[in-house]
């Protein structure tokens, strides 16, 4: 490097006032955002730690008019875990399959475009619309086996199954997006090298492309989990809004999944001053736990991206966020 270069930069033309203003504005905007994020975490930590007691995590919630008698949020915590697992288990294979089809086959082109816009529409649909739509579907008697059927064969349509199925739609676009991103980042000569060894497309996908795309897939799944954890609308409408887990029938796991319950988000909503519970201390404590879970997931995404050496996984810049 020549010594003249930095000097030339210093002697560069003077900044125009408008440019100066724009730069200052950009700085202010960035710092404001940092402060905002920091204050959310600090405030929630302040409130949360104040009200969070270990037994809240291990006791069942109870309906009551006095905050001190409403129990903890074990059931919502379990509900969040169950719903996240259920949604991910449905979304991951479908999402990976769609992404592989789009990047590796994508014929006929018209169908590929239709699938792409389908994914975009699902991604853009507010979750409350998905929830209403889900209710419409799962109240059909055909899907009666997935939820509680009242006397007179009215299907309740609200259960972990119903909510999980709709939650998978929320995670799906993220999984498809991140998987496609990594598959597209694999150079075409890697595929050609595999074909040149006499391998067909299926074994190339199975043995080369999917293993190589693993970090991207993991990122997408983690992002999707974050969306599921943060969603409220589907829980309120499709999970039945019972504070405790209430199974249907006597089959152990299936019965619980056919039953209703709550999650951390619906718990926060119900106990906040906006809801009916009016137990703001519990709401703050639960919100703090929820925030910790989501931050932990973000951290995991970052870790995956860093471990895989950047590029593809980091391209999925959209982070876990709470909706509604």
């Amino acid at each position: 490097m020549s010594a003249a270069a930095p000097r030339a930069a210093e002697e560069g033309p003077a900044w125009k006032p408008l440019d100066k203003l724009a730069v200052v504005g950009a700085w202010v905007a960035g710092i404001t955002l940092c402060l905002l994020a920091g204050s959310i975490v600090v405030y929630m930590a302040y409130r949360g730690i104040q009200y969070l007691q270990p037994e809240l995590l291990t006791t069942h919630p109870v309906a009551g008019s006095d905050q001190s008698q409403t129990g903890g949020f074990l059931d919502p915590l379990l509900g969040t875990v169950i719903l996240t697992i259920l949604g991910t288990v449905i979304a991951a294979p479908v999402g990976i399959g769609v992404a592989v089809w789009l990047t590796e086959y994508g014929r006929p082109a018209g169908l590929a475009r239709a699938v792409e816009s389908g994914v975009e529409i699902v991604a853009g649909t507010p979750s409350i619309v998905l929830a209403i739509f889900g209710l419409l579907i799962f109240q059909q008697s055909f899907f009666g086996f997935l939820s509680f059927t009242a006397e007179g064969s009215a299907v309740f349509g609200r259960s972990f199954f119903a909510a999980g199925a709709m939650m998978s739609l929320i995670a799906l676009p993220l999984i498809i997006g991140a998987t496609r991103e990594t598959l597209n980042a694999i150079p075409s000569t890697v595929r050609e090298a595999s074909y040149s060894l006499g391998k067909d497309r299926a074994s190339t996908i199975r043995r080369i492309l999917l293993p190589a795309a693993r970090p991207g897939i993991a990122t997408g799944i983690t992002l999707g989990m974050g969306r599921i954890i943060g969603d409220t609308a589907i829980v309120v409408i499709l999970l039945g809004a019972s504070l405790q887990l209430q199974g249907v029938g006597n089959t152990p796991v299936i019965g619980d999944l056919r039953g209703t319950g709550s999650t951390m988000t619906s718990y926060v909503y119900n106990n906040s001053p906006a809801g009916e519970g009016n137990a703001p201390q519990k709401a703050y404590a639960a919100a703090f736990v929820l925030l910790l879970i989501v931050i932990a997931l973000n951290f995991i995404v970052e870790l995956i991206a860093r471990r895989s050496g950047g590029g593809a996984a980091r391209a999925a810049t959209m982070k876990v966020g709470m909706t509604e």
Partner: protein, 320 residues
Amino acid sequence: MSDQTRDPRQAPPVRRIVLDEPPTMVPPTVAPQNGHSTEPSLGAAPAPGAVATPTFAPRQAPALRGAYQATERMRADQLSIAYGSKLAVKEVTLPVRQGEVLALIGPSGCGKTTLLRSLNRLVDLTESATRSGRILLDGEDVDLLDVTTLRRRVGMLFQQPNPFPMSIFDNVAYGLRARGSKRPRRRELEPVVIESLQRAGLLDEVKDNLNHPALALSGGQQQRLCIARSLAVRPEVLLLDEPCSALDPLSTAVIEETVTKLRGEVAIVIVTHNLQQAQRIADQVAFMYLGDLVEYGPAGQVFGAPAEERTRAYVSGSFG
């Protein structure tokens, strides 16, 4: 570098590779023809007789290269390839022989890579590509062969080293593991993997780290790993698409040496932009221009006494 002052108009010396001997420097066979060369007549249509039927002159057994008996393995017969309505390769007839290295040279966009990729039907993956004429592998039309069988018999090496994101061992073993059938154990595959790495000249460098990720190797090592990977399925023909263009000179020399050694066991076709490289390793040279096979013949003849004006202009460096 030699310290004696060289006539600047003289082309630099050429490094020749002799089997099992250190590379030696020899004077170039091509004298630069600055001032003499004429621009190729781009507009004028080449005389059909002169271009479409290249003369396959018997090679003038160069002293360094008579080591192997050349037998024909592949042949492109009146082969034309088009992308959409654009003809990329025009009625090319060209033999590929085992025991020789065939270099395809020519300026960018002349169709040499397309021709190469058609030999193992990789060009079929390009959606707009159409092909006419025949490609024969040991006398059989490649279109009648199962495409996976064809590609096992005709291996390919690419411009960018492209090892799979797995261990060195698994990279070489990948082609051996047939789909669907019971996956062979590592112990059964090991001899072939070791032998392939040996033939690609990589074994000494990696024999203790076979389980290390292939992507941790240097560029030159990765490219030799790709050679080993191709050799593991025992191809009869090996196609090289500018295999050294992403490599440093030292790695290039090692690859060239490996290729030269393999010539007796595998028929080799190499596409190269690097004329010095073609001079160093090729026995036969085919010069392509705008989709036409302009000239085909022994390396010494194409570089030393080209029959076509366009060939002379290209090898002397006046265009390309």
